[in-house]
């Protein structure tokens, strides 16, 4: 998964990565050459008392060191370019992919998870790539190079490696096999304890009201104990690694001195070579140790790349056809032809054989309880979901044949949860119509019964709006969302229960103004409150996904039992506030 992701996203940086690899190879060779020179100093300089040789070789070493430093900085430069570039591209890919998501994919992933993926997971990949490029590349080169150089110094002495490398590999394998699964289980336990604490904080009133502090203590105690014992095991395994590797390294040194001593004594090897050999061995071991540290990073990067891949490769359930059909005439007619809709995996369809036609210039209302399928029905029109059976036509053309941008351009949607974007009142109102004049904005505000409070806000149209619109009240938010749709001047309006936070008076005035302002448009209103919709041209009663009646308030009161039930339940016991 990690490899696949990197292969795709690192490709544009092949040049940078190539440069890094070349630089790291040069750097590793240089680093391997230094002990060789040091051996020369001992063999040819020290042992022969040749001081000028010592100084001369020293100068060469210094020169190499300087070059190596410059090369290393270059390596970091190109590695950073590549890894941060991959990060940037991944973020762009994730965002782009999500932009094309339909409501189904949004629900599946959820906003918080998408944000974590776009930041933390991308960061994991960046970090992994950066370290891989700067260190991981050099580890095998140093290890292999070290072995070659060691063999060059002395083949017999290199036999030590036959013992040392498997020993080290065993340590690495042990760490990997025992620590990695524990790390995973540790994360689960941390999540669990955080969950318990979160519940205790959110539910503090209930816990105290039911006097269940003792129960909560026991629940927490269990989680705390679990977490602590796992953490203890992880850490106790972890503290073995460093001493063990250190012991292997040091014992190797001792072994080389012992066997090397014999070789030197019998004249088979100059002493300088033994010193160099020691340094090569240490270098090999160091690179292996680095590899251990890096191997720990792999599972995390793996997990992150899987989570990223999931988003990037998710195909939106709603896609545009290759050849879109442009409606020949923008009639504004919305037609549902025997529509049945079920969520994937859902047992029962949410909508059954819904069939009606919304003509322009009329206000149609849909009423029904939660779960009756009102909002679902409304969401089919902008193709947030696709019908399972039947057809849905806007302007006489099936929505599945239209270009999405065109379709959306025809609609003015006011969702149930009024959401405003950070910016000003004006930027929010112009959301669907960048070119709207201030007069148009004020007009829309007037219709939406929002003029008074916007005028009262410091700055008027330029008054700041916080993310989500949290700095205005729920009712104000709904009215601004309505105004936003009005500014767009679409042919078809979809109001999804967006009058619920308004008091009855405002609700009535708004509907009156709206009626005048949307005279030629097709208007569909979804509502729970009877008073909101009883004056509509037509009312569609929806119950458990079926149309139970279509007609005016008076007609339905006379003929439609479910409608009468709703009216009774609400107006018989009218709700306050």
């Amino acid at each position: 998964m990690l490899i696949r992701l990197l292969r795709a996203y690192a490709r544009p940086y092949a040049r940078e990565i190539g440069i890094v690899v070349v630089l790291v190879v040069i750097q590793s060779i240089g680093n391997l050459y230094l002990p060789n020179l040091n051996a020369d100093i001992i063999n040819n300089g020290v042992a022969k008392g040749d001081l000028t040789y010592i100084w001369r070789t020293g100068a060469v070493m210094l020169g190499i060191t300087l070059v190596l430093g410059v090369i290393a900085v270059g390596g970091v430069y190109w590695a950073s370019l590549a890894s941060m570039g991959v990060g940037r591209d991944l973020r762009g890919a994730v965002f782009g992919s999500v932009q094309d998501f339909s409501a189904r994919e949004m629900n599946r992933f959820g906003t918080p998870s998408l944000i974590t993926r776009n930041t933390n997971d991308v960061q994991q990949i960046q970090l992994f790539l950066q370290i891989a490029l700067t260190m991981m590349v050099s580890a095998p080169i140093m290890a292999v190079g070290g072995v070659i150089m060691a063999l060059r110094e002395d083949v017999q002495l290199s036999a030590v490696l036959v013992v040392v490398i498997p020993a080290l590999a065993a340590i690495v394998a042990f760490m990997f096999v025992s620590a990695v699964p524990l790390f995973r289980s540790l994360q689960v336990k941390i999540d669990r304890i955080n969950q318990v604490l979160r519940e205790q904080i959110m539910g503090v009133r209930v816990i105290r009201a039911f006097i269940r502090a003792g129960y909560e203590d026991r629940r927490f105690e269990q989680a705390n104990y679990d977490l602590t014992s796992t953490a203890l095991r992880v850490n106790r395994i972890f503290v073995i690694a460093f001493p063990a590797v250190l012991a292997v390294m040091n014992l190797t040194t001792v072994a080389i001195l012992w066997f090397g001593g014999h070789l030197v004594d019998s004249g088979q090897m100059p002493i300088g070579n033994m010193t160099a050999f020691l340094q090569y061995i240490l270098q090999i071991l160091m690179s292996l140790m680095m590899a251990i540290a890096l191997v720990i990073l792999v599972p995390r990067a793996e997990a992150s790349s899987a989570r990223l891949q999931e988003v990037v490769t998710a195909t939106p359930s709603i896609e545009e056809p290759a050849d879109t059909v442009q409606p020949s005439q923008l009639t504004g007619v919305v037609e549902l032809r025997n529509v049945t809709f079920g969520y994937p995996g859902g047992e029962k369809p949410v909508l059954h054989n819904v069939d009606f036609r919304l003509p322009p210039g009329q206000t149609t209302a849909i009423i029904g309880g939660t779960g009756s399928g009102k909002t679902t029905l409304l969401n089919l029109i902008p193709r947030f979901f696709d019908v399972s059976e039947g057809g849905l036509l806007v302007d006489g053309v099936d929505v599945r044949k239209q270009s999405l941008e065109h379709l959306w351009g025809r609609l003015g949607i006011v969702p149930q949860r009024a959401y405003l974007f950070s910016g000003t009142v004006a930027t929010n109102l112009r959301f669907g119509n960048e070119g709207a004049t201030d007069e148009e904005l004020w007009h829309a505000l007037g219709v939406a019964q929002a003029r008074d409070f916007v005028e009262a806000m410091a700055g008027g149209l330029a008054a700041p709006i916080d993310q989500g619109g949290t700095n205005v009240s729920g009712g104000q938010r709904q009215r601004l969302a309505i105004a936003r749709a009005l500014v767009k001047r679409p042919g078809i309006y979809l109001f999804d229960d967006c009058f619920s936070a308004l008091d009855a008076g405002t609700d009535a005035r708004l509907r009156a103004a709206l009626r005048a302002d949307t005279r030629d448009a097709t208007v569909l209103i979804v509502a729970q409150r009877v008073s909101t919709i009883m004056h509509a041209d037509r009312i569609i009663v929806l119950d458990e996904g079926r149309v139970e009646g279509i007609g005016t308030h008076a007609e339905l009161m006379a003929t439609c039992e479910p409608y009468r039930e709703i009216v009774d339940s609400q107006l018989g016991e009218a709700a306050v506030a």
Binding site: G49, F210, I271, P382, G505, A575
Partner: protein, 649 residues
Amino acid sequence: MGMGGPPPAKIHDAGRTLRQLLGRLRPELPLIAIVVLLGTGSVVLSVIGPKIIGNATNVIFDGIVGKMLPAGLTKEQAIALLQAHGKGQIAQMVSGMNVTPGVGIDFTALGQILLLAVAVYLFASVLMWAQGYLMAGVAQRTVYAMRRDVEAKLSRLPLKYFDSHPHGDVLSRVTNDVDNISTTLQQGLSQIVTSVLTVVGVLAMMLWISWLLALIALVTVPLSVVVTLLIARRSQRQFAAQWKWTGSLNGHVEEMHTGHALVQAFGRRARAREIFDEHNQKLYEASFRAQFLSGIIQPAIQFLANLNYVAIAVIGGYRVATGTMTLGDVQAFIQYSRQFTMPIMQIAGQMNLLQSGLASAERVFELLDAEEESSDVDTGARLGDVTGEVALEHVNFRYEPDKPLIDDFNLQVLPGQTVAIVGPTGAGKTTIVNLLMRFYDIDSGRIRVDKVNTAEIPRDEVRRAFGMVLQDTWLFAGTIRDNIAYGKEGATEEEVVAAAQAAHVDSFVRTLQKGYDTVLDEDASDLSSGQRQLLTIARAFLADPGILILDEATSNVDTRTEVLIQKAMAQLRRGRTSFVIAHRLSTIRNADTIVVMDGGKIVEQGSHAELLRREGFYYRLYNSQFTEAWSAEGNGQAPAAASHAPARA
């Protein structure tokens, strides 16, 4: 290296926090002493190691040189011989060595030295492991206790604390901060000791071997530190910029994702992408600079280390050649100088870790030191079987001392009566709940339940008398059964089912595949808000309290479920004194007393008829909010005064 964490949090009083943290470590002090001892031991042994290895090299080199010299001579004679042959250079070197001319490597001596080295190194590793093993215990036990105390503290904090601190902040203290302390204790403390000891030990050995070479090595150390600091300061600035851009990018992403459908339907995808790309590019630039700058620290240090290596190799070689130093010492020195820079770098990293750990500790201690609920007064009085008589007498209460809220409030409720609390949104209707349940203590006056002053019995005893169904339906991650059983300690299966039946939720639960064993996820998102409400009602049924507190709000609940909820609530209220935060006309009109609230204060109280007659706030509220629905009923029940009722938003 690394991505750089968030900008380090500021610590207000590091000394105090450190003292507090050490105070928490007190039970572990004997073990910590052992950890330090073990650490010292392992450092001393690791520091001695290279010197022993150096001695072994010397034995080998002595043997080589000895073999080259004619046998039978003393060392002095050999030196004289070399000088006579014009080999003054080698003579000088030999004079500094322990050579017996004609004799090769002394393998007995070499064997002994190497065995010693093996013992020293193995012992050092064992000590190091033991140190880490013990420290893991110390750290985990300390954090375990800290978590336990924090959790216990949560149940002793007054409600006021939760209401006045953002939940996210409290949560972050008890989770992220405690985790951070755990990391600091595990990795930071013992390593800092080891690092400092290593630096001291290595320095001592280097000075002992050769003060000249030590001086050279020491020059590169401050150089490394200065280089590191210089680069780190610049990269820190870039890391800060990186965090800033990450934040703004996240803000944009969050907003665009939350308003996803709107962005699509209003044709804003291209613009959203443009803004994203701008932020993304800035983030890329900042993180590239941060990564590059912090990345060159390592090569820079490596370069200095190599410089050092070359200097030691050259000068050491010169000195061996001139007989003023042994080859083994040079070799040992090279090893020491390599051991020297690493702990210094580590100390820098550990200081950062320690700083962020202390910042976290400070935040946790702030929570642990927060003022607790006043301790329970217990006069021994008990409520027993509650009849449900409630009396509020001359009650005064304010959330903030300078904001008058409830002054001299009196209310007499007889067993079985219903009190409706009404008022516009945000009128402070939950204040009454807070006082009845003793979530907050009244400033003066008395609240009596069955003639017992609730201030004079333990809080739990008061709460036992009440059952509560709030609009904020709190369910926890667990089975439906556990969530209902929450109402009563040790509830049986039959009781749970009976409660569910009474709350009209049993049949729904049985439609679920796993029935009562269905596990709710954390936000119970698989249930509708109406179903959640029914579960909390079942919980209250199970608790079977003498007095009820109900929040009637049923927004977002479909009509059918609403009917169920109403039925269940009505059934629950039967025969019990109830305080209802009321939203339905029927409840309000039938209530024995209506308490009208506005702006946090109680503005009126009385029966429906009394309040209407008074033509005050309730009268206006009632008219403005019910008129439309009223007239819609079309049966002419609208109050005559409706026409001149002032509109209220």
